[in-house]
Symmetry: C2
Subunit: 537 residues, 2 copies
């Protein structure tokens, strides 16, 4: 074989029995670096999760296989207490195959993918399209009586993009310096209400389309360049919509929309062969421990979500983070470290379904919030409502978790850490990252961040942190798209991330004192106590 | 209807009978601007060529329809002498449908497209893959005996891109200033020899694969991000290869290549339903005239190629240029101008097949070169050999063509003009573009350019020019890819280009003196008369 991969595979074969280099006079720091750089398995782990298993929607067959395989790997490496920790989720969903073809006025294969959680079509559905953009329930009236027997294009076609910024970039010193600014936390119930309204609208639209006799609907991809997502944010498990939905590449969607204005609107033939999986409605977080020597000292934890959406293979989001967490576990287990505190490794499930796995962990082990009494709110995703329930009541396990590190920002190397408002922890975090300045890890930012599995730990007062990572092309073209495959993972970056994470975990596990904590949060006072609601809110 | 396109269509309806505003006291310059900006049809023309007709491979059914429709439009607008000017080309080729699926170890729809000019598969071909990168005939030996019954992946998988420059850009003043530098012409027979060798290699590889019993071959897309081209540079018409070839998105190709290194190489099911068209082996340039008042004054001409490759709808390449040339014709015809010289509008065919249409025009009307005596060379595309035949003998029509303007650089607005080494013409060109400085047309560059239909006119001494255009995202993601659809055309840019082109044509047609010419080229002296061939050449 003539190419690079052959060498990589040869390296796996040689490294397979990976005997730990036990040289007691070599500092563990340096043995971590040696393991991470010269005996790395992070890319093999990532390759298996992406190439071999593929996209890992919660409770899909692929995610089940990932749950099985990752536990096996943890056991192979000698981790303890490896377990699948269940929480109630609901049915799974997966794509078997799908297609979309414009059959008239000419024949073109269209780039399209089923929208997650929508039901299958009954074989191939062939029908004329209607372009009927709808953004709110008030838009339904003008389409009443016009959608029967049609495939409905529900998005505004918009216009082509002009990408004037580089798709791929790394953080400059200036970028990092800006992250040093402290920002006061802003928790907006108004923003949550907006998101809720959007989710409710999609259910209303589904009901409207069904009632009007539409056959299926198509939305435009939120980005052009042929990218597809298929992300189904608005469909909660257990509230399966009535109609099949597909997301179409923007270029293909807009061509249909233009042709719909000519004499003969196009005809589509679409097929969405998707499956629901009801065999086991529980989802599982995968947990594995490296036991500590002092049971009263508590534990530290690193986590990344193992589940993904459906387009692509869930590589940067988040096989990358999962592989880094697993690699840190492998490194520390292989080196046979015996930390004071237990080090726990978590692969979350249901993150893409609204952080459900990490919420489940918090509720089971860390803190409780009152049940919702309003049945309308209780029916909503906890993502929207969880931070609205006061007070937070810590559980006995709350103080045991002394530091949590989350990784979920693509494949870029670590450049620092967000202290998430925990200003008192910043000097210690700076000390811990100091050895890695030459590897690009320089910055401790006081800023709070959102959107991934540390969020609801921070929200109950756990010292929970997220890393600053080089953005690469994660935000510009990879996040949730069909380009999110192993191709766009960066081996050097992931090796760096694993070695830094392993080192930080060991530092945190062996620290004399646990990290400073924030107070357990209580309902925040309004940002401006004298503010009147704006008109229209 | 709630969106922008509705307004556009309403505008067509209103403008349809487009009565020319004949105000004799209004300068023609301003009437051109009024027609181009307030009564534009350039986007409607482009939409029909792209959305309704689609990709226009020479002698495909789509190109036949484009030949018919463009002639009809020229006639509708009142052009004279509208004709399809034939040249011998050969069979056509078109895609009916195609698909590629990885069926094991898991099922994924792959992004792939037939490579132009390769034959169809016999239904669906299912087989295991072999990754067998081959770059030269010396590479065949190591794959002998290993390819029978396989689908062969013939490219090196390479690695993912890191696009660190913006995909979309316009020329800055600094960019334009650099274009002012004169570069001595460089004509390299060595470079041509290299291209020839590559073309010959692809034929050898086809024969080798056939002989080894391979079922089909797959190459990697030259760009990642899911882009597909399907361009078949190496297959000359009449030399149809034996095996079906497909081009696959880089991300999909590399996933296959990685999985091929695991225990069970993947199995593909590919189908390439393509058709050859032998009904009429002639291709046709479309020509239309606006007759001049002085038959002895000769003519000026604007041209753009109407044919395209197969991926996408041939929008920036080159429905854009074709629509601009047609719009300039519409504007001048609608205004009823009566120029001194005839203004000819040309829509070239076979440009993507190596400038064949414009070469045919040159050979028929402008100049001859000796026939090739070496049968091996005579069998090759004229693109490679045409400039190797000396001397050039001008035909009587040579002096009649006093200026040729070519447009083929995407959808960006005009920023100036390449004088193509014709330094004596620069003052006149500067004078002609001066009124458009406020529209961004500021630069006359002395530089020679290649790669499109002015090339072989320059090569026989015709004053033939190409425009400097804003690059937009043409080079970064549109050129020859499946993103080359109407979406990425810019209406404002194309309106500007049409009005500038119409004005320049009228200036050139009415000029007292024809533009200065270059001498008729003779075989160039070697750049360094004392240079020894480098080792290995």
């Amino acid at each position: 074989m003539r190419f690079r991969l052959a060498a990589a595979i040869a390296a796996i074969a040689l490294a397979a029995p990976a005997i730990a280099q036990k040289a007691p006079d070599t500092p563990v720091q340096n043995r971590i670096i040696d393991q991470a750089l010269n005996h790395s398995e992070v890319m093999q782990t990532a390759a298996h999760l992406t190439d071999s298993i593929g996209g890992r929607m919660t409770n899909s067959p692929q995610m089940r296989e990932a749950e099985r395989w990752t536990q096996q790997r943890f056991r192979d490496w000698g981790l303890s207490n490896v377990r699948a920790d269940p929480f109630e989720f609901g049915r799974g969903w997966s794509i078997v195959s799908s297609s979309a073809v414009m059959t008239a006025p000419r024949r073109i294969n269209l780039r399209a993918i089923p929208v997650a959680w929508t039901p299958p079509t009954d074989g191939t559905v062939s029908a004329q399209i209607v372009v009927a953009p709808m953004k709110e329930a008030e838009d339904f009236a003008q389409w009443r009586g016009k959608l029967s027997g049609k495939i409905v294009l529900v998005s505004h076609p918009g216009a082509g993009s002009e990408p004037e910024r580089p798709a791929f970039r790394r953080l400059t010193s200036e970028d990092l310096a800006k992250l040093g600014d402290y920002e006061q936390p802003a928790f907006s119930e108004t923003e949550i209400a907006k998101q809720l309204k959007q989710a409710a609208f999609e259910e209303q639209r589904d009901a409207f389309l069904k009632q009007e006799g539409a056959l299926a609907w198509v939305r435009i991809s939120p980005r052009d360049g042929g990218l597809l997502h298929g992300t189904g944010y608005s469909y909660q498990v257990g509230r399966t919509p009535a109609l099949s939905g597909m997301e179409m590449a923007a270029e293909d969607y807009r061509r249909l929309a233009r042709l719909a204005l000519t004499a003969t609107p196009p005809t589509l033939a679409i097929s969405s062969d998707v499956r629901f999986h009801d065999e086991d409605t529980k989802a599982y977080n995968i947990l594995a421990d490296l036991p500590g020597s002092d049971p009263r000292a508590g534990y530290v934890m690193a986590g990344a979500h193992l589940d993904s959406w459906v387009a692509g293979d869930g590589a940067q989001d988040n096989a990358a983070g999962s592989a880094v967490v697993m690699e840190a576990a492998r490194i520390l287990a292989t080196l046979g470290v015996h930390p004071k505190r237990t080090i726990r490794f978590a692969l979350w499930n249901g993150e893409e379904q609204a952080l459900l796995g990490s919420i489940a962990y918090v509720e089971k082990y860390l803190a409780s919030r009152p049940e919702l009494t309003d049945p309308a709110q209780a029916a909503l995703s906890p993502y929207y409502t969880w931070r609205l329930r006061w007070p937070v009541t810590p559980k006995p396990g709350h103080r045991d978790l002394t530091a949590y590190f989350n990784i979920d920002n693509g494949s870029g190397k670590l450049r620092g850490i967000y202290a998430e408002g925990n200003v008192a922890a910043m000097p210690t975090l700076r000390e811990w990252i100091a050895p890695f300045a030459g590897m690009g890890v320089t910055t401790v930012s006081p800023q709070p961040t959102e959107g991934t599995d540390h969020l609801f730990m921070s929200a109950v007062g756990i010292p929970a942190f997220q890393f600053i990572q080089d953005p690469l092309d994660y935000g510009s073209r990879i996040h949730h798209t069909n380009l999110d495959t192993y191709d766009h993972l960066k081996a050097e970056d992931l090796r760096q991330a694993a070695l830094v994470l392993a080192s930080l975990l060991l530092k945190a596990a062996n620290a004399d004192e646990p990290l400073p904590r924030m107070p357990v949060p209580a309902r925040p006072a309004p940002a401006d106590p004298f503010e009147y609601a704006k008109p229209g809110e």
